[in-house]
C-alpha cells in the first residue's frame, strides 16, 4: 500500500497508469467487439451457435452471399449518396454560418451557442420533429416550398421512393450543421487578423481574401471536419429508424441500417457482421485522413 502511494506521489509509473486505464478500456469495449465482429463475418452463425466464439469457418461465403443479394448495390449506392450529400450539406451550411458568426456582430457568440441545441437533442427526437416538418399533407417544408413556387403539389417525403432518402439527408444536414459550424469557427478564429489586414493592403477584395487566405488556412480543419463527418454519418442510425425505417422498398436503406436489420430483425448475424466489417475498413481509411490532417496543421 505504501509503495503504491509513494509511486503515485513520486510520479514513477504514474504515466503508465494514465495510459493504461484508457487502453484497457478501449481494448475491452472497442477492440474485442471489433475483432469479434470481423471474426464473425468469416463464420457460419445461427441462433444455436450464438453463444460460441469458435464457429465453423466459411471463408468468404458471407461476403459472396451478401454481394449476390439484389438489394446490396442499391443500398451501397444509397449509402454513398447519403454520406456524400450529408457531409457536403453540413459542411457548406456550417462553413457559411461559421464565417457569418466570425464577423463578430453583437450577440454573435450567444446565437452561435444556441445552434448547439440541435446537436444536444437525441436523434430520435430530431427524427420525430422532422417527421412533422416533412409530413406530406400538413408539413411545413411542403408549405414553404409551394409558397415560394418550387413545387406545385405536395411531396410525400417519407413514403415516396424518390424522396425518402432525401428526407433523411435533409434532417441529417440540419443535425450535423451545428457540429461543423463549431469546429470550423474554431479554425476561423485561429487565423490571425493581421493576415487579412496585410491582404487588404496588398490589394485583395473580400472575395479574394476568402479564397487566398481563409480557404487555404482552413485546409487542415476542413480535413478533420470532413473525416469526422464521414465517421459520424456512417454511424447515423436513429434518423433512419425514426423517419423512414429504411423504406419504402429499401429506397432509403443504407449500410449501417441494413446491418442492424440483418442482425437483429432477420437474425442473420453473419451478414450483419459482414456489412459492419466493410464499414470498419472505410472508417479506418477516414481515420488515417483525420489523423494526417490534424497533424499537418499550419499555424504561423
Amino acid at each position: 500500500m505504501k509503495r503504491i502511494r509513494s509511486s503515485i506521489i513520486d510520479g514513477v509509473g504514474f504515466d503508465l497508469v494514465l495510459v493504461g486505464i484508457p487502453l484497457v478500456f478501449l481494448i475491452l469495449f472497442s477492440g474485442l467487439p471489433l475483432v469479434y465482429n470481423v471474426l464473425m463475418s468469416f463464420q457460419e452463425v445461427d441462433l444455436f451457435s450464438l453463444g460460441e466464439v469458435f464457429r465453423p469457418f466459411v471463408g468468404l461465403k458471407n461476403y459472396r452471399a451478401l454481394f449476390a443479394q439484389p438489394e446490396f448495390w442499391p443500398i451501397m449506392w444509397n449509402t454513398v449518396i447519403f454520406v456524400f450529400c450529408s457531409i457536403g450539406g453540413q459542411f457548406i451550411v456550417g462553413f457559411g454560418l461559421a464565417v457569418f458568426f466570425n464577423t463578430g456582430f453583437r450577440g454573435s457568440t450567444f446565437i452561435r451557442g444556441l445552434f448547439l441545441v440541435s446537436w444536444v437533442m437525441p436523434g430520435l427526437v430530431v427524427g420525430a420533429t422532422w417527421n412533422w416538418i416533412l409530413a406530406g399533407d400538413f408539413g411545413v417544408l411542403n408549405y414553404l416550398l409551394s409558397s415560394i413556387g418550387v413545387i406545385s403539389e405536395n411531396i410525400f417525403w417519407r413514403s415516396d421512393i424518390n424522396y425518402s432518402l432525401w428526407a433523411v439527408i435533409i434532417t441529417n444536414i440540419w443535425l450535423g450543421t451545428a457540429f461543423n459550424m463549431i469546429l470550423l469557427s474554431v479554425g476561423l478564429a485561429g487565423i490571425p487578423k493581421d493576415l487579412y489586414e496585410a491582404a487588404s493592403l496588398d490589394g485583395a477584395t473580400a472575395f479574394q481574401k476568402f479564397w487566398t487566405i481563409t480557404v487555404p488556412m482552413m485546409r487542415s480543419t476542413t480535413g478533420a471536419v470532413i473525416s469526422l463527418g464521414l465517421i459520424f454519418t456512417l454511424q447515423q442510425f436513429d434518423l433512419f429508424a425514426a423517419i423512414t425505417g429504411g423504406g419504402p422498398a429499401n429506397s432509403s436503406n443504407v449500410a449501417q441500417y441494413w446491418a442492424w436489420e440483418l442482425s437483429f430483425r432477420q437474425y442473420d448475424f453473419a451478414r450483419g457482421a459482414t456489412i459492419s466489417t466493410i464499414m470498419i475498413a472505410v472508417v479506418m481509411v477516414a481515420s488515417v485522413f483525420y489523423v494526417r490532417s490534424t497533424r499537418h496543421e499550419v499555424r504561423g
Binding site: P192, D194, E197, A198, L201, A204, V298, R299
Partner: protein
C-alpha cells in the same frame, strides 16, 4: 520652395465608443520624408498609422494622400504598404509567393511577377530562401520577407508598425540602418511607429511625439532634444532620461535655488518670473563632476554603474540625479562630489502646466 506633401492630416479624430484615441491630429508629411511616430504604449501612435493605412476609419477630420481625400477609401485603393509588428506573413505560402501575392492579385503575368520578386529578394538578401515557408525562417529573415513584400509593390507610402520589436538587440541596431538605407534608395515616404525613442532619433528626419491621443511636439530629432516643448517630451527624448529637480526662482528671476540639500543658486540662461516654483531639467550628459566646491551642486554618490564605455552615476538625495560620464574617473560610492552644468543647458518647466518656460 514649397515641399510636395505626401500625407496630410487635418484635425483627425478617432473614437472607440467613449474612448477618444486621436484628438485633432495635425500632421503634414512631405514626399520622401522618414517620419517616426513615437510615444508610450496607448498614446495612439499605432491607431494613427492604421488610420493612414485605412485599417481604421477615422471619426472626424480629413486625411489626404497625395492631395486625394482618403477618409473612406478602402486600404487596397490607398497605394500604401505596411510592415506589421508580427510580420503577418502568409503562413501557407512560400517566400516567393508571399512576395508576389500583391502582383498576382493585380494579374501581373507570372514570369514578370517572379522576376520583380527575385530582384527585390536580391536587394534584401533573400535570394536563397525563396522556396521556404515562413515557419522555416528565423525572426530576422521573416522581417526581411515582410519588408520585401512591401517593396515589391512600389507603393507611395511605407508604413512600419514597430517592425523591429521582435528582434534581438544587435539585429535591431543592424536593421535600423538597413531600413533607413532602403528608404533612401527607394526614395519613398515612410511612416515608422516605435516606442523606442532611440529608433526614432536615429532613423527619422522628423519625429512626432505623441501622448494620450495628441501630438505633444514634432520636429527634427535634435530640435526635440535641444528644445523640448514640455516636460513629457524632455523626459521621453534622450537616454538616460532627463533629471527633473524642483526649485524656486530668486527675487529678480535670474537664478534658481534647487530643492537639494547644499545646492547654491544656479544662474539661469534668461530672466523668468521671480519667486516662482519651477521644475529644472538637467540632462545627465550635460552634468560634469568638478572639484569639490567648484560646481553648482555639491552632493554624494549613491550608485555607480559602469558599462565600460560610459559610467552612470546616481547622486543627490536617493540617487535621483543621474550623471553620464564618458571618461573614467576615480570615484566611488559615498564620495562627495560637485556637479557642474553649463547655464545654457538648463531647461525650465512650469510645475503646473508642465510646459517649458
Amino acid at each position: 520652395m514649397t515641399e510636395e506633401l505626401q500625407i496630410e492630416l487635418n484635425g483627425v479624430d478617432k473614437h472607440y465608443g467613449a474612448f477618444h484615441a486621436l484628438k485633432g491630429i495635425q500632421l503634414a508629411i512631405p514626399k520622401g520624408a522618414f517620419v517616426a511616430l513615437v510615444g508610450p504604449s496607448g498614446c495612439g501612435k499605432s491607431t494613427l498609422l492604421r488610420s493612414i493605412a485605412g485599417l481604421e476609419t477615422i471619426s472626424g477630420g480629413e486625411m489626404k494622400i497625395t492631395d486625394e481625400v482618403m477618409n473612406n477609401v478602402p486600404p487596397r485603393h490607398r497605394d500604401v504598404a505596411m510592415v506589421f509588428q508580427s510580420y503577418a506573413l502568409y503562413p501557407h505560402m512560400t517566400v516567393i509567393d508571399n512576395l508576389t501575392y500583391s502582383l498576382r492579385l493585380k494579374k501581373t503575368p507570372k514570369a514578370e511577377a517572379r522576376k520583380i520578386a527575385k530582384e527585390v529578394a536580391a536587394t534584401i538578401g533573400l535570394e536563397n530562401l525563396l522556396d521556404r515557408f515562413p515557419r522555416e525562417l528565423s525572426g530576422g529573415q521573416r522581417q526581411r520577407v515582410a519588408m520585401g513584400r512591401a517593396i515589391v509593390r512600389r507603393p507611395k507610402v511605407f508604413l512600419f508598425d514597430e517592425p523591429l520589436s521582435n528582434l534581438d538587440a544587435s539585429l535591431r541596431v543592424h536593421m535600423r540602418k538597413e531600413i533607413r538605407a532602403l528608404h533612401d534608395r527607394l526614395g519613398a515616404t515612410s511612416v515608422y511607429v516605435t516606442h523606442d525613442q532611440i529608433e526614432a532619433m536615429t532613423m527619422a528626419d522628423h519625429v512626432v511625439v505623441m501622448r494620450a491621443g495628441v501630438i505633444e511636439q514634432q520636429g527634427a530629432p535634435l530640435e526635440l532634444y535641444d528644445r523640448p516643448a514640455s516636460q513629457f517630451v524632455a523626459g521621453f527624448i534622450g537616454s538616460p532620461a532627463m533629471n527633473f529637480v524642483d526649485g524656486v526662482t530668486n527675487a529678480d528671476g535670474t537664478a534658481v535655488t534647487l530643492d537639494i540639500t547644499g545646492a547654491p543658486e544656479l544662474q539661469l540662461p534668461r530672466q523668468v518670473a521671480c519667486n516662482e516654483k519651477v521644475t529644472v531639467g538637467l540632462r545627465p550628459e550635460h552634468l560634469s563632476i568638478s572639484e569639490a566646491g567648484q560646481g553648482a551642486i555639491t552632493t554624494k554618490i549613491s550608485v555607480i554603474e559602469s558599462t565600460g564605455s560610459t559610467t552612470y552615476v546616481g547622486a543627490g538625495d536617493a540617487g535621483k540625479i543621474t550623471i553620464v560620464l564618458s571618461e573614467r574617473r576615480d570615484i566611488s560610492v559615498g564620495d562627495t562630489i560637485s556637479l557642474g552644468i553649463n547655464t545654457k543647458d538648463i531647461h525650465l518647466f512650469d510645475p503646473q502646466t508642465q510646459m517649458v518656460i
